[in-house]
Amino acid sequence: MTAIDLTGSAEEIRAILAFVKQHPAVEQTSEPTTLDASRALNVGIPNLSPTEVLSFLTLVFTTGKAALDFLKALREQLKTKGGSLAVSESTSGKSLGRIEPGTSDAALAHMASS
């Protein structure tokens, strides 16, 4: 089993969810989870931009090859729709890089094999 997390803004994750759910290589998909749900209200800090609220999806594949097929399809999707997503290992949270329209096959293979 290979499990990876895709992380992006809540909007990016919502947008990608339908694509993920219909892709045959994906064995299981979690519902999106919000990462930063609890921020204290505080006094403003000048010169710092507001930070984005991130969400992630966990995807489970039966094989590494299935994961690679999916990541290649996702890259094509990003070429059409634009944007990029962070990829990480689901079991450890370890970052595997970002997937974007220009991500190489080798980088995708690395993401799928971990």
Partner: protein
């Protein structure tokens, strides 16, 4: 960068710290912020910092930051959206106990955030056995709370712009506006101009603190003063925000229209109905409140005050039901009832004073009567034996032979509570023992339930102590890996924060916490306490020996280090 003041909706406490400032500014500011929190006279403190003094603007910003947080205390108690945040955290903390009981009975670890139990995919990935129905229900409840609040707070994109106009942003807008009005009321227009230029304008215009300005502008409440400066009257925008925060969270039916409860949708609807006003710049608070009340009554059948009254009525009517859930948990039920009492007290006073009394322009009338608890945080560790009661701290085991150099105890948070909280004209928590339980135990429990350890708190031991307590019951604590630590930021964010901190605190350079080198702000990074402890700098730092060990236990402040020392530049 840890903010100097923040409001904690779980315990209604205002936290303050000056740990990110150099001395002597830090200790002067700490004293002034304490006076502001207690509603005491600031004149003597400020006498040494007359207009034009290089530290005056920073000091006023920090003082008024406490007023900003008091405004959050006010809106959290008064408005329905604010009260909902408190209730959610109470519900989460109450549900920690069945979760712990189940883990204890099954000799299994407890997982945070609790939502992982309700997600079969996450359970499979993490190797969590299928939980009983009641735990899945708790997990689903936590997830529903999180999703709902995320929706209520979500920024909205429009082209390349992202606007912050959700519930949280509206609270920040009201906090910001009240802060500025308090500065004008207490110190005058010149000081307002200075701190606006220094501290407000550098904040993102579309961000949560300033989106109230955009709303005021689009309602025609701005006027060019002829010197290239647009002067805004925030009365109408403020009245809209307050009404938008008073949605119907009880009794609105299973699928209510979003503008009946969601702050963003309510702002949009009110703006649509009211439209730009040619005289917006001259609108008084009374006129603004009356106009918005009239429109709200027409749209939703109730004014803001009527919605608040109905919300408090329901909260009290449901008290018996929550009693079953809360009563066995020390303090939770009493704090809940004290919260309802505080809301009713504020509403009664607001009704006496009239609808315009809750607008930021009138906030100076409330400011010194609002006395939320103040937790003075010392993330770097305070080793003084004397002072206000310790709420976050610990005894240290001192190795033999080091008694003279290693302190016996360390404090990260002291509690300052008003001594006149029972007075009729003071708005403060009264159920002291109950709120103490909430502050020290239930609130950190709620944070774990909601987001694991992924919070940037002023003092991380606030959450660590709760984790240690749970482990002390013989229950191992586990986290979903994405929630095991506070956010790990990328290198550009850390550099950006160091530059912002230097500018904010008036430093031209920093001293590297590792090498002792003097470094320019753009050569530095700030690391949160957990980023440092998880970085490749840690082993090298530990080579220092016992001093390093003691510091890692006692010092939970941010680290400032030379940026090139980090190998994991994009951790």
């Amino acid at each position: 960068m840890i903010p100097n003041a923040q409001f904690d909706a779980a315990s209604l406490a205002v936290w303050t710290t000056t740990g990110n400032l150099p001395d002597p500014e830090a200790s002067i500011a700490a004293k002034a912020m304490q006076f502001a929190a207690h509603g005491e006279d600031l004149a003597a403190t400020l006498r040494e910092f007359p207009p034009g003094h290089p530290h005056r603007a920073l000091l006023l910003w920090l003082i008024s930051g406490v007023w900003h947080e008091k405004r959050h205390f006010f809106d959290t108690c008064l408005t329905n959206y604010g009260a909902r945040r408190v209730r959610d955290l109470f519900v989460l903390s109450a549900n920690l106990y069945p979760l712990l009981a189940e883990a204890h009975a099954k000799h299994e670890p407890v997982w945070f955030p609790v939502e992982v139990y309700g997600n079969p995919v996450l359970r499979a990935v993490l190797g969590i056995r299928e939980p009983p129905k009641n735990i899945v229900e708790i997990a689903n409840l936590a997830r529903a709370i999180k999703d709902f609040n995320s929706q209520l707070d979500a920024p909205r994109a429009s082209g390349k712009w992202v606007f912050y106009l959700g519930g949280e942003a509206q609270l920040e807008g009201l906090g910001q506006a009240s802060q500025i009005h308090c500065v004008e009321y207490t110190f005058g227009v010149e000081d307002v101009m200075t701190i606006t230029t220094e501290y407000v304008h550098p904040m993102a215009q579309e961000g949560p603190y300033r989106s109230i300005e955009a709303v005021a502008g689009s309602l025609g409440c701005g006027r060019d003063n002829g010197k290239g400066v647009v002067v805004l009257n925030l009365n109408l925008a403020s009245a809209i925000f307050i009404t938008a925060l008073c949605g119907r969270f009880f009794g609105a039916g299973p699928k209510p229209p979003s503008d009946l409860l969601a702050p963003f949708a309510r702002v949009g609807r009110l703006m649509e109905e009211i439209g730009p006003k040619p005289n917006g710049c001259d609108m008084s608070g009374d006129q603004a409140a009356e106009l918005v009340d009239k429109v709200a009554k027409r749209l939703w059948g109730r004014t803001a005050f009527e919605e608040i009254a109905a919300d408090i009525d329901t909260m009290e009517a449901r008290a018996e039901a929550v009693k079953d859930m809360f009563v066995s948990l020390e303090g939770l039920y009493d704090a809940y009832m004290d919260f309802a009492r505080l809301r009713r007290q504020m509403l009664a006073t607001a009704r006496d004073l009239g609808p315009a009394s809750v607008l930021p322009r009138a906030f100076p009338l409330w400011r010194d009567r609002l006395k939320p608890w103040q937790v003075v945080a010392t993330p770097g560790g305070d080793f003084e034996a004397k002072g206000a009661p310790v709420v976050f701290g610990r005894q240290l085991t001192v190795p033999r032979g080091l008694e003279m150099v290693v302190p016996k105890s360390v404090t990260w948070g002291r509690l300052h509570a008003a001594s006149d909280s029972d007075a009729d004209d003071v708005f403060a928590p009264r159920a002291r023992d109950a709120w103490l339980q909430v502050l020290e135990r239930h609130a950190p429990g709620a944070f774990l339930m909601l987001n694991g350890r992924r919070h940037r708190r002023m003092v991380p031991p606030e959450i660590e102590r709760r984790i240690t307590e749970i482990e002390g019951y013989g229950i191992p604590v586990r986290f979903h890996p994405r929630f095991e630590w506070p956010e790990q930021r990328d290198q550009p964010s850390r550099i950006g924060e160091a530059i912002a901190l230097a500018k904010f605190s008036g430093r031209k350079s920093f001293t590297c916490d590792i090498t002792g080198d003097e470094i320019q702000p753009d050569e530095a990074v700030t690391l949160t306490p957990w980023e440092f402890r998880r970085s490749d700098l840690l082993p090298k730092f530990q080579e220092v020996g016992v001093v390093a060990t003691v510091r890692l236990v006692t010092d939970w402040s941010d680290w400032i280090v030379r940026r090139d020392l980090l190998k994991d530049s994009a951790a």
